[in-house]
């Protein structure tokens, strides 16, 4: 066994500091609050700095080990290589399980420190104190996993002189997006720990009013925004790297990120009902618990290898820990909700289903059913195996078939909900407010039919998309007319931009799912082949070789205007070939070229077989994602200079009646 390196020693020390600080912090803060030791309560944030410090040291040491190719460490033996370019060497940290957990650890430590800093003036407050306790418990769990079963610093087996590792999985070292997709996704995943911690603190302290919601509104919003962007970047990576021209395969790992997104989306909507009307307290708490626990369950499902996944880059032995923690989270959270049941009873009533709050409720039911379907489809093969002892798969067509009607209903709700007033809407009001949005829908339908779209489902989607876009546009126009630039910010107005982004994404999905065409073309050198309104001419095969990869690129002249180069890259260390597509991107459609089969074309070959896809409107997925990100930021900007007393946080109905 090689001698323990400085990197491993300091890295382990960092994790140990984090583990001890989190454990001691959780226990001492909890005891101090219970015992009324105010001085000790005020010390609580100090532990956050130790936690963050420990995590940062561990990550710095891991990066240093990867850069120094410190092969005394097992993890570096698995994912390190002297030939990996430095950018991908940074990303090598999250290319396998242990490093992924380390990334989780450092993001979690960062959030914990951010909470401690944000609430540093209120560390005396029991709500903040308990929230920190919950954060520390979660930190302690992940530090324990990272220090124990998923240790990235575990010493590796003896290695021969001159050993060089294989580097990360080839799929994780051929596109720049691997540098951004996992960290951004984790910012979303882990960020939901903050609202969850405050929700638990609210239950423990019994202050289950709207205070904790207001404190964590932006935390939830930003986590949701990062989760959204992280998921979309994953889709983009899939499109640019995997070569089957798809962005979403309903793979278990993708579903694991989508599940908390669904419950998180339900939460950021229904929380508005609680802020405005003081209702749905139990429901909102349950959604937060679901969101947080689904991040843990999702990690368990995908990392334990119990469900097969094409993304299973990382499998390990942390499943028992994750499953145990998931069970603890669910039991404790539900126990607390049950314990505080009497205080959670909402004081108000909803007057009519045709109202803003009614629409939010309908939205919540649909998102919850959607989450249930995704979870069921993901774990169903496991259930079949347990009960019937046979193998089965639940694939993309199942999810596509069930998500289509859900998507249409959500588009309809997005069209109607923004114009609905709180409490109750009259027919006349709806007729007035929905008139022009509905005509936008009819216009969108007409335009798509004129341009040749067919099939009832995509046409209904385009029509409803136009309707929803009209409704969002109407809100933005009215708000800016009334408030000037302030009409662009705030949760309602920013939310409308998010809706516009979602609508663009829905349209892009409807179009690309319904109207993608593909063909396998055999091209002889110098010969031009016409297909789907485009011409393709095989120019030559170019071979580029270095000590890491051998790239065989087929240069194809598309539409006699520009040469595109789909390639097959052979990763010499791993002996693995990865086809890399080449895409002509456009606002109306993409032309996606990839070399058919897995083997690289021979240099000097006079024919090449291509898979060609023509995919409409794909670019609008990414544009929609950018608009969603901008909308999320706009939602977080306060829309008013100060809160008005009429923005009731709880319905004061009973008090008013009592006084009356």
């Amino acid at each position: 066994m090689p001698a323990l390196s400085v990197n491993a020693a300091l890295g382990n020390a960092g994790l140990l500091v984090m583990l001890i600080a989190a454990t001691v912090g959780a226990m001492s803060t909890a005891l101090a609050i219970v015992g009324g030791n105010r001085r000790a309560v005020r010390q609580a944030p100090t532990f956050a700095w130790l936690i963050a410090g420990g995590a940062v040291v561990a990550v710095v040491m891991m990066q240093r080990a990867l850069f120094a190719r410190d092969y005394s460490i097992d993890f570096v033996q698995q994912v390190g290589s002297s030939t990996t370019p430095w950018l991908y060497n940074i990303a090598a940290m999250w290319s396998a399980l242990e490093g992924s957990i380390l990334l989780w650890v450092v993001v979690l430590a960062g959030f914990t420190a951010a909470v401690a800093r944000r609430f540093r003036d209120r560390s005396d407050d029991d709500l903040v104190g308990w929230a920190l306790v919950v954060m520390y418990v979660v930190c302690a769990f992940f530090a324990l996993v990272s220090f124990g079963p998923a240790s990235p610093f575990a010493p590796g087996p003896a290695i021969p002189v001159g050993f060089d590792g294989p580097g990360p999985n080839p799929l994780l070292q051929n596109h720049i997006l691997v540098l951004f997709h996992p960290p951004i996704l984790y910012l979303g995943y882990v960020g939901f720990t903050v609202p969850f911690a405050f929700a638990m603190a609210a239950l423990i302290t019994g202050r289950v009013g709207e205070g904790w919601l207001l404190e964590t509104r932006r935390w939830a919003l930003f986590s949701w925004g990062f989760l959204t962007i992280g998921i979309l970047l994953g889709g983009w990576w899939s499109y640019e790297v995997l070569g089957w021209s798809g962005v979403w395969a309903w793979d278990p790992v993708e579903n694991a990120s989508f599940l908390p997104w669904l419950t998180g989306t339900a939460y950021i909507h229904s929380v508005l009902v609680q802020q405005r009307r003081g209702m749905l307290r139990v429901w909102n708490l349950s959604l937060l618990v679901a969101t947080f626990s689904l991040t843990i369950l999702g990690t368990f499902i995908t990392r334990s290898g119990i469900v097969n996944s094409v993304h299973a880059f990382a499998a390990g032995e942390v499943d028992g820990y994750l499953l145990g923690f998931f069970a603890v989270v669910v039991v404790v959270a539900l126990g607390l909700i049950g314990w505080r049941g009497d205080r959670l009873r909402a004081p108000g009533q909803m007057d009519s289903p045709v109202s803003r709050e009614g629409a939010f409720l309908a939205n919540n039911v649909i998102f919850s059913v959607f989450a249930f379907i995704v979870l069921l489809g993901t774990v169903f093969p496991l259930l079949v195996e347990v009960f019937q002892d046979r193998q089965t798969v639940v694939g993309a067509p199942y999810f596509d078939r069930l998500s289509m009607p859900i998507g249409l209903v959500l588009l309809f709700l997005m069209a109607v909900a923004p114009v609905l007033p709180w409490r109750k809407a009259s027919t006349e009001l709806l007729r007035d407010r929905l008139f022009w949005p509905a005509w936008c829908g009819a216009g969108a339908l007409a335009i798509t039919v004129v341009f040749g779209a067919d099939g009832w489902a995509p046409l209904v989607a385009f029509g409803l998309g136009g309707f929803a876009g009209g409704a969002a546009g109407r809100q933005i126009v009215l708000a800016t007319r009334r408030q000037g630039w302030r009409g662009l910010v705030g949760r309602a107005n920013g939310g409308m931009f998010v809706h516009l982004g979602v609508i663009l994404i829905a349209m892009a999905i409807a179009a690309s799912n319904s109207y993608t065409h593909s063909a396998t073309l055999v091209l002889a050198q110098g010969e031009e082949v016409a297909w789907a309104g485009h011409t393709f001419e095989f120019v030559e095969i170019v071979d580029e070789l270095d000590d890491r990869v051998d790239v065989a690129r087929a240069n194809i002249l598309v539409d006699r205007s520009k040469v595109y180069g789909p390639a097959v890259t052979t990763y010499i260390r791993q002996g693995m070939t990865v086809p890399t597509p080449s895409v002509r991107t456009g606002f109306v459609k993409d032309v996606y070229l990839t070399i058919d089969g897995n083997s690289p074309p021979a240099a000097g070959a006079d024919t090449v077989t291509l898979r060609v896809f023509v995919k409409p409107l794909i670019l609008w997925l990414w544009i929609g994602g950018a608009i969603m990100a901008i909308g999320t930021v706009l939602s977080a900007v306060p829309s008013k200079r100060h809160r008005r007393a009429t923005d009731a946080t709880s319905a004061p109905l009973r008090e008013a009646v009592d006084v009356g």
Binding site: G246, A249, L478
Partner: protein
């Protein structure tokens, strides 16, 4: 919107909506029923191969996979499509007979597998019924509270005045 002309206002009443329904239904009918010609054989092969799992790789469809086993299935599908005698479901059933039911990406609606279809529908129904009960309960509760009275309006008006003076 409040400054809309009477003409604008009239338009938004039923005539405008009826016109809208005619336009929308008309375009939808034209778009969804028109004959766009026979489906390209390549597109049909794609549609079928999306519904079949690669028998040797984890979780990928034959459409996505570049594995030789998937390539073999793809060419079997291509031949079946070219023969033109069997419909999509028939081709998939033949492949499932040859490779086993675990290559079906869309679970069957029979036996235990039917649960994967029935449970989502049940969840949806439960959601709708729960909403219906919730609104019924709220309606009953608000009936107990009774309509707002003179005093309630006075309290609200006083609060608004207070607020307006605070703002000034």
């Amino acid at each position: 919107m409040t400054s809309a002309s009477p003409m604008h206002h009239r338009l938004k009443r039923w005539p405008g909506w009826i016109a809208l329904i005619f336009v929308a239904v008309g375009f939808l009918a034209v778009g969804s029923t028109r004959d766009t010609g026979p489906l390209d054989p390549g597109d049909r092969v794609d549609a079928i191969s999306r519904r079949i799992a690669c028998p040797v790789c984890d979780g990928e469809s034959v459409y996505e996979s570049r594995n030789p086993a998937s390539e073999a299935i793809r060419s079997a599908v291509r031949e079946a499509v070219a023969s033109g005698t069997v419909d999509d479901d028939g081709i998939i059933a033949d492949i499932a007979d040859a490779y086993g039911a675990q290559v079906l990406l869309v679970p069957r609606a029979t036996g235990f597998d039917a649960l994967v279809w029935a449970l989502p529908v049940t969840a949806g129904v439960i959601g709708v019924v729960a909403l219906w009960f919730a609104f019924r309960r709220w309606r009953e509760e608000s009936a107990l509270v009774g309509p707002a009275e003179e005093d309630d309006y006075r309290i609200v008006a006083a609060a608004r005045e207070q607020l307006a003076s605070d703002d000034d």
